[in-house]
């Protein structure tokens, strides 16, 4: 694997292999005082973030550091990026400076694909840490790792993803990955927050959360962004919360074993009630914890080996 741009590129074997590595890394580090592995010593990893994201950037940074890579953070605010340098020039500069891997977050869909194209000659790996409304593959992988941990397996499990499907890169990554892993995915959202063309995705679509809850093994809630609330996608935050928010009553409609996931940051009281977020059924902090191991696994698969075609 040279780049991780999209979960659409991962078949079941490739995805499972990354999840297994993450599992093993988690166990390898369990209870250790020194949480540092020498595996990526001398490798330089750059996080290039054009959008704010403490959560994802820190997770990648810790992952890289625990693998002994040199991790350098570049954010759009504090570099030549803010002076109008093109993405291409920035990427080529980082590669020329010796980056082995660029982890990129960008508001434009496809930015990571473009970056991978520009950097192919330099041999630099690219990890997509979220590109516009397209994909966020490590988020989906850590979600899958968390589901596997909580449910034992993903094959045949029924998983609902609830909320702003239209604008969500997390959804696109999860739909591909969960389909590859054999899950039965149902997207629950008002029609205004579903993309035209969703009928061709390997999912079922529903507008009624309550009807889906009793058959679910897991529910994944998406953040409702402030600009959507004012964008006329639904009448009001209150109405959205009434129809699609996960409150305690709804939690009660789900089977005992069913898990609640949220990629964060959460809007408590909107898409998720506080009591649900803090309940033992919620795996939200597990997701964050697994995120580090998962991203270590991704770096391991990208950087610890020679390219398979060389």
């Amino acid at each position: 694997m040279k780049h991780l741009l999209s979960t659409e590129d991962l078949d079941r074997a490739a995805a499972t292999s990354i999840l297994d590595t993450a599992d093993n890394l988690k166990r390898a580090l369990l209870g250790r005082e020194v949480r540092k592995l020498p595996t990526l010593r001398g490798r330089t990893v750059i996080t290039l973030f054009y959008e704010n994201s403490t959560r994802t950037r820190v997770s990648f940074e810790i992952a890289g550091k625990w693998m002994s890579a040199d991790v350098i953070n570049v954010s759009a605010g504090g570099s030549s990026v803010s002076k109008g340098e093109s993405l291409r020039d920035t990427a080529l500069t980082l590669a020329a400076a010796g980056a082995d891997c660029v982890i990129v977050r960008h508001p434009a869909s496809g930015a990571a694909h473009r970056l991978a194209g520009w950097l192919s000659a330099a041999g630099t790996s690219v990890v997509n840490a979220g590109d516009g409304m397209h994909e966020h593959p490590t988020q989906a992988l850590l979600d899958a790792a968390t589901l596997r941990e909580r449910l034992g397996s993903i094959e045949g499990r029924r998983i609902a993803i609830v909320g702003d499907v239209l604008h969500s890169r997390v959804v696109r990554s999860n739909v591909h990955l969960l389909a590859a892993l054999g899950a039965d995915v149902v997207l629950v959202a008002p029609p205004t927050l579903l993309p035209v063309g969703v009928q061709n995705w390997p999912v079922t679509v529903s507008h009624e959360l309550d009807a889906e809850l009793p058959s679910l093994d897991a529910v994944m809630l998406l953040r409702v962004q402030a600009e959507r609330m004012h964008g006329g996608f639904f009448p009001s935050a209150r109405e959205y919360s009434i129809a699609y928010g996960l409150n305690e009553n709804r939690l009660g409609l789900m089977p005992e074993h069913a898990v609640v996931l949220h990629p964060g940051p959460m809007l408590r009281g909107m898409e998720i009630a506080s009591a649900v977020a803090d309940s033992p059924r919620a795996a939200i902090t597990d997701q964050v914890r697994n995120g580090v191991h998962l991203r270590m696994a991704v770096l391991y698969h990208l950087l610890a080996h020679e390219e398979e075609n060389s």
Binding site: S17, P38, Y300, H305, E308
Partner: protein, 140 residues
């Protein structure tokens, strides 16, 4: 502590034998050294194996590393590094089923099943019932 993959069942078998001969129950574990190897970048992606410390950990204890074949010594170097991250044993020893020579590091085994002189181009494969359906050592 067996080094996966084939060192792990060998370690368990040794523990059983020690119990039979001496009545002493020796705790076992496995130690995956993949993340500590210095030759990772020379091959395709290696899947990680399991590390499980023996009950009670390894601090201040005598740890015997067990592997199937001792060759360049690089796996054992990686194992010593890995071990250091898990604790501080009183002493570390090495047991191997086959020592085929051609060391590249100043490492030697404390216990050797059999010394088998080989050429560099030959391949020594240890077969174990747990993996291969039969026990044996094949020289190719």
């Amino acid at each position: 502590m067996g080094i996966p993959s084939r060192g792990a069942p060998l370690a368990r078998r040794l523990a059983v034998k020690i119990a039979e001969f001496s009545g002493v129950e020796v705790p076992t574990g496995t130690l995956d050294v993949t993340l500590y190897r210095d030759d990772l970048r020379r091959g395709p992606t290696r899947p990680l194996e399991t590390t499980s410390l023996p009950e009670g950990g390894i601090d201040d204890r005598l740890v015997v590393l067990v592997d199937d074949v001792l060759f360049s010594g690089r796996t054992i170097r990686a194992a010593l590094d890995a071990l250091r991250d898990h604790g501080r044993p009183r002493a570390v020893q090495l047991a191997v089923l086959v020592d085929r020579g051609h060391r590249e590091l100043p490492i030697r085994a404390d216990y050797v099943g059999k010394n088998v002189p080989t050429s560099r181009t030959e391949d020594v494969a240890v077969l174990l019932d747990e993996f291969d359906g039969r026990d044996g050592v094949v020289l190719k």
